[in-house]
């Protein structure tokens, strides 16, 4: 996900930079404005239609199905492993620090004092999922670990002076 987004961004910014460079390199020699207006206002309509079409495609492609699990649903039982997580200044409490790979984990996350952010990092320090930990609310994050290993829980919402030290470990074991 991260590398895909990074390369899409680089490609789009590079394309935009090329357009600006083209205009700069064609800026010194003056020409009559009306023909330029006629040609490029016409192109603007097509450009708008392209962006609008892309808007529709991206919206449906990324929101169906809706990528956040239903929050009203109960996730206990055989189908899920449940981890109740609470963020405190400046540590995490978890009902268990061990889960198995291949079976969905329901993280039920709250903030005991202030806002925190539960960020789950794999052994390569790549962020795989996150959710806010907010006082008065329990957010349910459903995530299935594909790979066993030692994951880390980092705080991703600024919560005071030891925000950066708020780290816990989560062991993901291979399914038996």
């Amino acid at each position: 996900m991260q590398s895909t987004v990074w390369f899409i961004t680089l490609a789009c910014v590079a394309l935009l930079a090329a357009v600006f460079y083209y205009v700069i390199s064609n800026s010194k020699t003056p020409e009559e404005y009306p023909p330029i207006q006629k040609k490029w206002y016409s192109f603007r309509g097509k450009w708008f239609l392209f962006l609008a079409g892309l808007w529709v495609v991206v919206t449906f492609a990324t929101l169906m199905p809706f990528p956040i699990a239903p929050q009203a649903q109960a996730y206990s039982g055989d189908g899920y492993q449940v981890v109740d997580v609470s963020g405190h200044q400046w540590y995490w409490t978890m009902s268990t620090d061990t889960v198995v790979a291949g079976k969905p984990v329901a993280f039920q996350v709250t903030g005991a004092d202030v806002n925190h952010g539960l960020g789950i990092y794999d052994e390569d320090l790549t962020l795989v999922a996150q959710v806010q930990a907010m006082p008065g609310y329990t957010n349910k994050l459903i995530y299935t670990f594909d790979e066993p290993g030692k994951y880390r829980i980092l705080c991703l919402e600024y919560c005071g002076l030891a925000h950066h030290a708020m780290i816990a470990e989560l062991n993901v074991e291979a399914a038996s």
């Binding site: 010194k28 003056p30 809706f66 990528p67 962020l127």
Partner: protein, 491 residues
């Protein structure tokens, strides 16, 4: 700021024009100086993250708080200077009230600086409830109250100014709808291509910022009450909604206010008019609503939010980029293309601002997709996107306007220092934005005083970038301090 008369509604004496010019220059000079100081704070933070500089975490978070609040507030006051300068040519504005807002702003700044550096407040500009009141002894309730009160005071000053702007627009155009060009858009009146883009932009800024600041005032008062009466416990999610509504509107409005410099000045340097049209009015009408409704993209990791609100956040985040890509940025490209433009620091900065704004929108709208946000939210991708369109979009509008005002075109052209400043700023700004974005793509969290060993090389690149930016802005500042105070009104 020569004497202007439009249908007998706008008329200033020479003394009023001189007074207004001094006021605008003061806004700009103070703004540029504070930008420079805040950039130094940013460079220190990046150096600290790269272990090149040792500061304690509490001081780091104080720097982070002053950097965030200071940049947003200064962007507000400097962009108001830009908008006010151009808008007063079309509607009758009060210089006295302009100064009153400036004085109130400085009062708020003193309160905020006192809260941070005397009271040790380090709750970030976001002041997310209930962190300001729960610091585990790092700062007192009084320090938090001074910070919140400082923001409240600043907001009050802006509201007073907007009341004057609203009065002036209504006196000239009769309604905000007419000022936005709506009767022309919907065919009730013939299209008048000479209707000033600045009036349209100024009206949009007035509407959204009045509501944004009002929401901010509500939340600040609620949090002040909570600080001294902890029995009063507002809902944390409601507070977060109000804070991000206020914050998103306010910072976005700075760009929409400053873009008036592009609308007003690029035509002067290209000899091509920036005419309003139905497309222009439609884009700005859409922005009025989108800027206010788009903020839920800040809350996509708050799963307790209603799904419809998050969908609105994603859809409108994309939508709010469209007017930039189709109207303003596109219009700037057309107006420059084969125009014979006179390239100097003013025009280079104004044209750069269009690139920075449009390019910065790209990582912003990608991050505002729920499925992307779950691995990019609160990583350094986020400061990456807003540094892109604020550092390389907003600030070049303000700096470009300052160069125009100091009379660069009349002085005999661009100096070597100007060129060095521009390219140092451009190179540093691009490196800084891309380093933040690459850091975010590498999952490095934001707002961490101490970085893990794996992340330190990125902080080194960020520090180098910040130094280049500071060098460029130092040269801009030198020019602003030496040439701007005595510069006559540019014709």
């Amino acid at each position: 700021m020569s004497t202007t008369t439009l249908s007998g509604t706008v008329s200033y004496s020479e003394a009023e024009n001189q007074g207004a010019l001094v006021a605008v220059k003061t806004h700009l000079i103070v703004g540029i100086l504070v930008f420079l100081l805040m950039m130094l704070a940013g460079a220190v933070m990046r150096a600290a993250q790269g272990n090149m500089f040792t500061i304690s975490p509490d001081l780091f978070y104080q720097f982070m708080t002053v950097h965030g609040a200071g940049m947003v507030g200064t962007a507000g006051i400097a962009s108001t200077g830009v908008l006010w300068y151009f808008l007063r040519q079309y509607v009758q504005l009060s210089t006295k009230i302009f100064w009153i807002n400036f004085g109130i702003f400085l009062t708020g700044v003193v309160l905020i600086l006192g809260s941070i550096f005397l009271g040790k407040y380090g709750g970030a500009w976001t002041f997310l409830y209930p962190l300001p009141g729960i610091s585990l002894g790092a700062w007192s309730a009084g320090a938090a109250a001074a910070f919140l009160l400082g923001l409240l005071v600043i907001g009050t000053g802006f509201l007073i100014l907007y009341l004057d702007v609203g009065r002036a627009i209504l006196a000239r155009y009769g309604s905000f709808g007419r000022a936005l060009g709506l009767p022309q858009l919907f065919g009730k009146e013939p299209v008048d291509t000479s209707h000033p883009p600045t009036v349209v932009a100024g009206t949009m800024v007035l509407i959204v910022n009045f509501l944004g600041i009002a929401a901010g005032a509500v939340v600040l008062v609620m949090m002040l009450v909570n600080l001294y009466n902890p029995e009063f416990k507002p809902d944390a999610l409601l507070i977060k909604n109000l804070i991000y509504f206020f914050g998103h509107v306010f910072i976005n409005a700075t760009i929409y206010a400053s873009v008036t410099a592009v609308y007003e000045l690029l035509p002067r340097y290209t000899g091509r008019p920036w005419k309003t049209s139905k497309v222009f009015y439609a884009a700005w009408l859409a922005i009025v609503f989108m800027v206010m409704a788009v903020y839920p993209h800040h809350l996509m990791m708050d799963f307790a939010m209603p799904p419809w609100a998050l969908i609105v956040g994603q859809v409108l985040s994309y939508g709010s980029g469209v007017p930039v890509m189709v109207v303003t940025g596109y219009g700037a490209l057309m107006i420059v293309y084969r125009s014979g433009i006179q390239w100097n620091t003013t025009t280079k900065l104004l044209f750069l601002s269009m690139f920075g704004w449009a390019a910065g929108v790209i990582p912003a709208i990608i991050d505002a997709m729920v499925t992307v946000n779950r691995v990019f939210h609160n990583t350094l991708w986020v400061p990456g996107h807003f540094h892109f369109y604020l550092l390389l979009g907003l600030l070049p509008m303000i700096f470009g306007f300052a160069y125009h005002l100091l009379g660069e075109a009349k002085e005999g052209g661009t100096t070597m220092a100007d060129r060095l400043g521009f390219y140092s700023f451009l190179g540093g700004g691009l490196l800084l934005a891309f380093t933040f974005l690459a850091s975010g793509a590498s999952s490095i969290p934001r707002r961490w005083a101490v970085h893990m060993d794996e992340w330190i090389p990125m902080a080194h690149w960020g520090t180098l970038a910040a130094i280049l930016v500071v060098l460029g802005v130092l040269l801009f500042t030198w020019r602003a301090l030496t040439a701007l105070p005595r510069a006559p009104e540019p014709s």
